[in-house]
Amino acid sequence: MSETNPLREEIQNAITENPVLLFMKGTPDQPMCGFSARTVAILQSVGKPFAAVDVLPDPRIRQELSALSNWPTVPQLFVNGELVGGCDIVTEMYESGELQQSLGAEAEEAPAPAPEVAQPESKPLSIEDLR
């Protein structure tokens, strides 16, 4: 363990442990970038709980995330451990219904209740969690 990269490992663990995980600038409550805000709004519209990691507090988070995912930009949405994409792809998939499908939103018999933006059911990660 000592020879590996602890931060990258934490990021990988977060991706593995959270079925729907958004790396973003800011928080779902206070997105700090238009692309992150749009992605959060889409996820909230789908109505499935998601976890979020703010990459802004430490530039190393973004560096390690991009190295891990081979994706240069933030936001990045992971579903079941796989990179789905950034804002553009999430938007396209939402418009085509693929996103709802991949999040299991269509499988619900009744529409899922829209979660409170501030309190997603999954534990919201923060920089403190990653250290």
């Binding site: 692309f35 994706w71 240069p72 930009t73 804002c87 553009d88 792809i89 396209e92 998939m93």
Partner: protein, 81 residues
Amino acid sequence: MSAESAVATPEELKARIEAGIPGAAATVTGDGHHFNAVITASAFRGLSRIAQHRLVYEVFGAEIGGRIHALSIQTQVGEPA
């Protein structure tokens, strides 16, 4: 290459995308920092969206997030030009 040190332009991005991706035709708009690119390319055939977007990002490497602050991408599979 000297143009690449100046502020990025939609024309530059269009030219580099079309030069860097086989069979690509791009429409690029932007203000020098935020850009939007709609790209049709034969090279996208059979690739996932993720892989298609990675092809575009690879054209610009570390400039994405730096000199090119933000690049929105829409990809479509196209016939060879």
